[in-house]
């Protein structure tokens, strides 16, 4: 972890002791990226704003529970996504923007700066992921990337829990199928 991380953990410690100024600093540091990421999960802007506020209120109340392990960023995102889901439960919102459409419409520009990113995208995993259908990818993103439970993922995506489970299974099976021959191909 870089030398900047302790700043956030220290802030959380202060917040746990009732320091409002520390909370405000956390808000200023993290509101931007949290909002962006929440927007990628739902089309409802009002819900995002409410969830964002609720997130920091929850941070205030549960700062003591952050044990100092792991990233503050990950902890914050965990709170944020769960706040969003709680709100989605009360107000089911329109489905997030269609990924497949976006994929089709925006070409990936390969520039020098993107080399590294490209390496990931067009590495084994990237290729395998790309070959999955958007619905399967969405389920993987929710369960793996966001770390949600089946029920939470179901609420986020607006599909039944059973569907989440079966799609996750299918996705993993497909990935396995794709990755093994790719690896073997590379080794040859």
């Amino acid at each position: 972890m870089s030398g900047l991380e302790p700043g956030d953990a220290d802030l959380l410690r202060c917040v746990a002791e009732g320091d409002e100024v520390a909370l405000r600093t956390l808000v200023e540091r993290h509101a931007g990226w949290l909002r962006l990421r929440l927007r990628r999960r739902t089309g409802d802007e009002d819900l995002v704003a409410e969830a964002l506020q609720d997130t920091f209120v929850a941070v205030w109340r549960s700062a003591r529970q952050f044990r100092g392990e792991g990233d503050v960023g990950a902890w914050l995102w965990g709170i944020a996504i769960r706040q969003l889901i709680t709100r989605l439960r009360r107000h089911p919102s329109p489905a997030p923007a269609d990924r497949a459409f976006i994929d089709a419409v925006s070409p990936i520009v390969r520039s020098a700066e993107d080399e590294l990113l490209v390496a990931v995208e067009h590495g084994d995993v990237g290729t395998a992921l790309r070959r999955l259908s958007p619905e399967l990818r969405a389920v993987l993103q929710a369960t793996v990337l966001d770390g949600l439970t089946t029920r939470e993922a179901a609420r986020l995506l607006g599909i039944p829990a059973g569907t989440v489970k079966s799609r996750a299974r299918t996705a993993r099976a497909q990935l396995r199928e794709q990755l093994v021959p790719l690896r073997e191909g590379r080794l040859r």
Binding site: M1, S2, L4, E5, G7, D8, E20, L23, R24, V27, E28, R29, H30, A31, G32, W33, R35, L36, R37, R39, R40, A49, L52, Q53, D54, F56, V57, W60, R61, D71, G73, A74, W77, A97, R99, I102, D103, S106, I108, S111, E113, D114, L116, L117, V120, E121, G123, V125, G126, L129, R130, P134, R137, A138, Q141, L145
Partner: protein, 273 residues
Amino acid sequence: MTAEPWHLNTAVWQRYAAGELDAVAEASVETHLTSCAVCRSSAPETIESTEVAILWEGVATAIARPRPTRIGRVATRVGLPDDDLVVVRASTALYLPWVISVSAALVCAALAAVLPEPHGSSSFVVIAPLIPVLAVAAAYDTTDPLRELVAPTPLSKLRIALLRASVALAAAVPVTLAVGLLLPGLGGLAFAWLLPSLALTLASLLLLTRLTAPMATATVAGGWVVGVLAITGDEAPVALGSTAVQSTFLGVAVVLCLLLWLRTSSTRLQGGY
């Protein structure tokens, strides 16, 4: 996968912010952001400072707002307005009526249990109606530490007093009822004190608009005890239990209620100076 540190550049940030990255690239960006404070802090402004200020105001208010207690939530569902709830919560002196009513009820029980029948039940039936009266008086004449601040405010002092009195009653009545039900000799009389109590409480509230709390309570209590003992003596439990007496008390209560309403709707009686 290599563990080389890499960071996002402006172009990628912008595309991510605009939602133009494909799912895989987006996933990479997000995973990276979760753990890289450098990128988070060096990223271009994704949120206006005015928006942050508004967000902060919302957060600051939400964390400073008093948390609703279980009783508070029940009260709100029943229809108690939020501002009345604030008044009730601030009335720290409300512990006193609780203590008084509980202690008085226990004394009643002790008396009733110790004395031989019919003295036991009589004592209970005579003392029980006064417990809510005591509780209300205690809530009314609280030594409010903020008295100097409260005096020059526009909110009706009578409203504050009535709110506190209601809470005091809500505490006193169930406790006394419970004690009455637990006493072996009473039976149905455990409820017979309720209507007289209502009449007495209304009478004391009416008197409180004119007299100080100790005076009003003394008048009501004195009148009641003397009246009951003089008229019925040891027959008090039976007499009180009769339908005629109960209906009388009901009638009296209704009249007193009307009088109280008339008195309080005149603006002169906001309470206090």
